[in-house]
């Protein structure tokens, strides 16, 4: 013989509480498969409750995330992969071939006549004018070490032959370099345009 259990008033109240807010006949015609199907669900689900999901806004990926490699010369908000940048950077710099590229770490263009006038520069904090045709170029951010390459040129701004550009003896340091400009015969003179670039 089987007996049905007897529900108390508390059991019934608890059951009613569970069904409050559920629309009438909300699941009346749904099969069990439909009820389990996530695509039939409505409302929202917190991202934190989904294992392994990342937010669309400012996600921080871990591991080795990958993305499709953009076509050459793409200029959009598309993600740039390492494969893309390996070819894009030389292309932007018009650097064909496979020879390595090295960077200019500081440069300056100044007028040394009538008092030093700095025309343009990069990573230079100041120029010290010591005497006619004798300058020190001070770097804003110092070099890694002092074995860098110094290249320069002058435009005399006066009639006569080509000017000279040189590096002052014992003046190359991580923080600065001394340069001199001359008149083509070794006599120091101020030049109207002095251009210096530091490569490393």
């Amino acid at each position: 013989m089987q007996y049905n259990s007897i529900h108390t008033g508390e059991d019934i109240d608890a059951g009613i509480s569970k069904t409050q807010g559920v629309a009438s006949n909300a699941t009346a015609n749904a099969t069990d498969a439909q009820l389990r199907d996530r695509e039939t669900h409505t409302g929202t689900q917190p991202l934190s409750s989904i294992s392994g999901a990342a937010a669309l806004a400012s996600p921080t990926f871990t591991g080795t995330p990958a993305a499709p490699t953009a076509a050459a010369e793409t200029n959009t908000t598309q993600i740039a992969t390492t494969a893309y940048t390996r070819t894009a950077i030389p292309n932007v710099l018009n650097a064909s071939g496979v020879a390595p590229m090295f960077a200019c770490r500081a440069w300056i263009n100044f007028n040394g006549t009538g008092g030093t006038v700095i025309l343009a520069n990069g990573n230079v904090s100041s120029i010290a004018d010591h005497a006619v045709g004798d300058y020190t170029i001070n770097f804003t951010i110092k070099m890694l070490e002092a074995n860098y390459c110094i290249t320069g040129s002058t435009q005399r701004g006066t009639s006569g032959g080509a000017g000279d550009f040189g590096v002052r003896n014992n003046s190359i340091t991580r923080e600065s370099v001394g340069v001199v400009t001359a008149d083509g015969t070794g006599v120091l003179e101020d030049a109207s345009t002095v251009s210096v670039a530091i490569f490393r």
């Binding site: 100044f110 008092g115 904090s125 100041s126 010290a128 004018d129 010591h130 005497a131």
Partner: protein, 71 residues
């Protein structure tokens, strides 16, 4: 910048520093670019002569270099 930094160089002449727009103040540039231990003064560019015919003979009284010392 309309100012210059002057100090006495090792030969007894005057070194004139022209600062660049590099994100540093002229005081920071002076501390960084004036040789260590050299007294300096910050002056208006108008105080620097533009006639450089006798540039190598310019001198400065070290007692006037009162704005700081190169770091």
């Amino acid at each position: 910048m309309d100012q210059r930094i002057i100090y006495q160089n090792d030969e007894g002449g005057v070194a004139i520093i022209t600062p660049c727009e590099c994100g540093l103040t002229i005081e920071q540039i002076a501390d960084k670019d004036v040789p260590t231990g050299k007294a300096y003064k910050i002056v208006d560019v108008a105080d620097i002569p533009t006639d450089r015919q006798w540039r190598n003979e310019w001198t400065v009284d070290e007692a006037d270099l009162t704005d700081g010392v190169g770091a």
